[in-house]
Symmetry: C2
Subunit: 338 residues, 2 copies
DNA sequence: CTGTTAGCGCTTTCAA
DNA sequence: TTGAAAGCGCTAACAG
């Protein structure tokens, strides 16, 4: 491995001067710089970032931290989408990107804040699933032991060195619910996963609020289905439809669950949208391709990831967050399922 | 930040002794260890991994390197699946995981080998898309400038500090093709993306080989569709069916493309599987949920990711790869589309 | 078993 | 404009 010293010797200057050249500091004379650049190139010098980080006390690396009990958390299309946006900005701005998932209960390998030291990161983008208590615990840990972070889908405390990026989940859910009500549906269901994601809680509020505002002869049922899978959603929906035969519209807390809902209809011989309307949330890549094409609320995960990364990098480079709170619009996408 | 020295002072021992305790070295007397552990705990000591890495010349971090022109490469379900497996093993074994995507042409930010220094990683799992020439260039760079790596879906050279994990793409593609031939199909099509993934090339070989072995009155067409998206596959399939009205079976090089193929049939008023049979490759999460449920060849990306990570970590900890070549089975999954 | 010394590769500080 | 010295936090090597 070529070090600064090697280059310095080869170019007949001090290590300091080489460092100045490498870091584009203007203090070096043209000819000296020339000579150093040549040696740098000839020896194929690459800075050792551990040494630089040790000295500068920063690493130019970001982390994506996901608190989710599923070991397959990265297979979730929404997380994948957020990660895509993060990775894009990290690459553009010359930051490394570390990913780390943890179960909510803190059993599986400790605290979020450990990642700052352990993975040598300067800041993190954090998504928290789990009960409000668990989420609060993680936030407290992050405040005490971590560095700057951007929290997705959940507000941050005034004392935190943090900002948040949220989607308009509530109004999005209200919009799709109103769309259903306007189409004449009066008995609505909503299938949600057991895990308490803040975004899901907002969607439930939006759903309930919209139904409430027009509650004459309307009923609304919310059922938990267990894990965030189509199978679980299908089973929950079958139960829901059996218990409430007059139900004519079922929403999924996200598109993956909507896929399961559609399958429940098929099994019971119901047509969509003629007999029962279905809608999802997120607008994942395959939403257009499902049969019938899925009516859903678009929540742009990649944009949220990009915004979060930009916010975080801004904080790292300018010492403060340009804003503490960013909202990303949601949009009702009407296709054929509702 | 608490350092070893701080702890040493608090416990009345040397920094070295604290280091020995932190690293569980057996040389420390019980009572001393006790005292140190207490101080460690009281001061909330966390090792600085940059310093440790600098000294030990390792970082306990792995990278997932993807050469793919799409900025949305992480949204690809197969990559997501591989990443899931990698992340799982990395977490279990106490390694960090860095991800980095690069375009094939080397324009967008340099060489793969830079990641070793830049992201401070000990080894990498690498997936290469692009022409054979571009792939060779990346491998050469990795050999010269990088560290140990595991290559997915492609053999490694004898001189490389590397191993490979491959899926049985060829036999998998042959199996699904034979399935089609056995069902009486004689005019078959295969839709592939422009980007030359090694796995796709193998699938084409398997397809061609199976048709060849039974070539009486059979025709086989392979069409490139452009990017790896359902839209592109749909357009390509429409062209294919227009040009070859007798075609009764169309394969996709992966499930995402198969989704587009199904849509092309719908547009032309053809039923699947009655008029035209369709099959994919990968068995992504949604394959069961598509209509009709997709016949495909299962290639377990998460298992490949896990195996790759285990192989790599074995090399890092024992100095050599336990094997240079691992094959992962594929399995024909017959559902309703073919 | 414990402490001392030295140095990983880099950058900050200060002197020339 | 350049160089020398010091030290980031940790651990290998050796001495006691």
């Amino acid at each position: 491995m070529t070090t600064l010293k090697d280059v310095a010797r080869a170019a007949g200057v001090s290590a300091q001067t080489v460092s100045n050249v490498v870091n584009n500091r203007a203090v070096v004379r043209r000819e000296t710089r020339q000579r150093v650049l040549e040696a740098l190139d000839r020896l194929g010098y690459r800075p050792n970032l551990a040494a630089r980080g040790l000295r500068r006390r920063q690493s130019r690396a970001l982390a994506f931290l996901v608190v989710d009990p599923s070991p397959r958390y990265l297979a979730d299309p929404f997380h994948g989408s957020v990660l895509t946006g993060l990775a894009e900005v990290a690459r553009e701005r010359g930051y490394g990107l570390v990913i780390q998932g943890l179960p909510p209960d803190g059993k599986g390998g400790g605290r979020l804040s450990d990642v700052y030291r352990h993975a040598q990161i300067d800041g993190a983008v954090v998504t928290l699933g789990g009960t409000a208590v668990e989420r609060r615990r993680h936030l407290g840990d992050l405040r005490r032991g971590g560095g700057p972070f951007v929290l997705l889908e959940q507000s941050v405390g005034a004392g935190d060195d943090a900002a948040c990026v949220r989607g308009r989940n509530r109004s999005g859910a209200a919009a799709v619910t109103r769309h259903l009500l306007a189409a004449g549906h009066r008995h609505l269901g909503l299938v949600i996963p057991d895990l308490a994601w803040p975004a899901v809680e907002e969607r439930v509020r939006g759903f309930r609020g919209a139904v409430e505002s027009q509650r004459a002869r309307t009923t609304a049922r919310v059922v938990r289905c267990g894990p965030e899978t189509p199978d679980a959603a299908r089973d929950a929906t079958e139960g829901l439809l059996a218990a409430h035969p007059k139900m004519t519209a079922v929403l999924g807390a996200n598109d993956l669950l909507a896929v399961g809902i559609l399958d429940a209809l098929r099994r019971r011989g119901l047509r969509c949208p003629e007999d029962v309307a279905v809608a999802g949330f997120d607008d994942f890549d395959l939403a257009r391709w499902i049969r019938p094409p899925l009516t859903t609320v678009r929540l742009p995960g990649d944009e949220m990831g990009r915004r979060a990364a930009e916010l975080l990098i801004g904080r790292l480079e300018n010492g403060r967050f340009s804003t503490r709170r960013l909202e990303v619009a949601t949009e009702l996408i009407v296709r054929e399922s509702a």
